[in-house]
């Protein structure tokens, strides 16, 4: 037995090294356990938020609730309420809870690739903070659900296009008519043939149009002559224009006379103004005269009063009673 033990590889300080390995092992395991507990939020003080949705498909326990791209909460539990709605119970760490306000909105977005995402939006940061245990509705946005509707709409559109481009469709008939019209336009009678309908009618129409043009030509010649006559009678040597010119000359002379009369009137007015100013001065002198007369009268009154006071036979106005 001893020989067998001695055959094992000799290790110096084996017990110390073994103890070191054991300590390292325990440290690694304990460290990993503590790190994982921390990573799963075991040491965080949290508050609860309940999100209500009609359908919680895509939500899994442990997924994040993000705000502006940052995870601020973690789904703890998903349960079915008595009303048949899904209750997503979210743990929000208290240090991050201030991002959630009473007016915050929560959405569940299911992308085409990857899992669903729970997002929070706080529009008004001054609103009161979200209370512990609050229940909020979860708005669900699902691009995947849009696909069947989109496909149905695309199918309708394609059906309409098919109907439009079908052989007996209205569009095809219109295009055939257009082709007929352009064919007629390109034909020997051109647009005239298009308007007249058949060939005979087109010929008649062309003849009538020719006649009409001749008549119009004659009419234009007559109109030309008429205009020549009118020109002569208006602008000729004995025309209306010459008379009008003479009248205007007379009117001009009349206006010159009127201007002279007005000038005379102006002189009269200047004189009248001078008379008026003289009168004003005279009125000012009258004011001074009046002042002088008033002072003279006041003096006379004073004199009379003095004489009355000094007069020996002044009438006694008092009645003395015995």
């Amino acid at each position: 037995m001893t020989e067998q033990n001695n055959e094992a590889a000799p290790v110096r300080n084996a017990e110390f090294k073994a103890a070191l390995l054991l300590v390292l092992m325990v440290a690694l395991v304990l460290g990993s356990a503590v790190y994982l507990l921390y990573a799963r939020g075991a040491f965080e003080s949290t508050q609860t938020l309940i999100l209500q949705a009609d359908d919680s498909e895509g939500v899994v326990v442990g997924m994040d609730v993000t705000f502006a791209g940052f995870p601020i909460g973690r789904v703890r539990r998903i349960e079915l309420s008595t009303e048949g709605k899904a209750h997503v119970v979210v743990d929000v760490p208290r240090k991050d809870a201030h991002w959630l306000r009473s007016s915050s909105i929560f959405t569940l977005e299911r992308g085409l690739v990857g899992g669903a995402k729970l997002r929070a939006f706080s529009g008004i940061p001054t609103d009161p903070p979200l209370e512990d245990g609050a229940t909020r509705a979860l708005l669900v946005g699902d691009p995947g659900a849009e696909i069947p509707r989109l496909l149905a709409a695309a199918r309708d559109l394609l059906q309409n296009l098919n109907d439009l481009t079908a052989e007996n469709s209205a569009l095809a008939a219109s295009l055939a008519n257009v082709a007929g019209v352009t064919g007629k336009l390109n034909g020997p009678h051109g647009a005239m043939g298009l308007i007249a309908g058949d060939e005979k009618g087109a010929q008649q129409l062309a003849e009538r149009a020719n006649k009409l043009l001749i008549t119009v030509n004659t009419l234009a010649t007559k109109a030309d002559k008429l205009i020549g006559h009118a020109d002569e009678s208006v602008f000729g040597p004995s025309g209306v224009a010459a008379d009008a010119q003479a009248t205007i000359q007379q009117l001009n002379a009349l206006l010159a006379d009127a201007r002279n009369s007005l000038k005379k009137m102006d002189a009269v007015l200047v004189e009248a103004q001078a008379v008026a100013s003289n009168t004003k001065e005279a009125t000012a002198d009258l004011g001074a005269l009046r002042g002088e007369v008033e002072s003279s009268l006041r003096r006379v009154e004073q004199l009379v009063n003095e004489i009355n006071r000094k007069w020996p036979f002044k009438r006694d106005t008092e009645i003395k009673l015995p």
Partner: protein, 254 residues
Amino acid sequence: MNTQASIPGVLERLQQGVAAWLNSWWRLLHFAVLMFSLALTPSSYGRENRPVLARHLVADTAPNLAWYGVLSALVSLVLIRIVVVTSQSYGLSRFALEMVVRVLVLELIPLTAAAFVALRTTLPAGLELAQRRHAAGTASGDELHREFFPRVAAGIFAVWMLAAVSCVLTLILAYLSLYGFTPWALTGYTRVVGQVFNPAVTLILVLKIVFFSFAVGLIPMATSNRISHGLADMVRVFGVMLLIEIASLMGNYY
């Protein structure tokens, strides 16, 4: 006639084979129970047994730890790089970290650690012990104490140690490969790691490593008290490891 005569022969051989197979598993179970009872006995760690145990522990773990640490770090770096570059080219880089953690830490590292310990330590040790005990019959109690138990304990411990060190190393390498030498991504990284390691996944990982270590430590030693050429032990070890891996995959993803 010939066919009729051969059918009982085949059945007899089949019966013998099944009996031998069941017998070997029974012996393995018996050996495992003996080892567990020794592991729970304080005297196994007593003053007289401690030097042998410590020597085996260090001799089985330290060289493996160094080699396996280097190899697993290199392979992890290559795999992480492949996953990151591929996910970036498809615009799915936010899923890269989760995939790295799931593929490497949860699946590959424990499996390769156990295989490494089995190939480099426990299978050769079991073979060597079997050859040495060529003529001996059933192992005595003292032999179990002094020969078998230290080797089994060292094998089990080596798997734990290698798996723990490599998992932590790979997590660190994944962080450095994805984000570089910056501490600012640690919060997001921690969150993703926390999401991956939910209680069920963590429990399955721990159980997987523990059962791998039992398979790697016990099976080669259990058969070493009889004539063995080693190959059968290796097949059995890897068969059991495969079963444990399948069970863990089913537990994780079904």
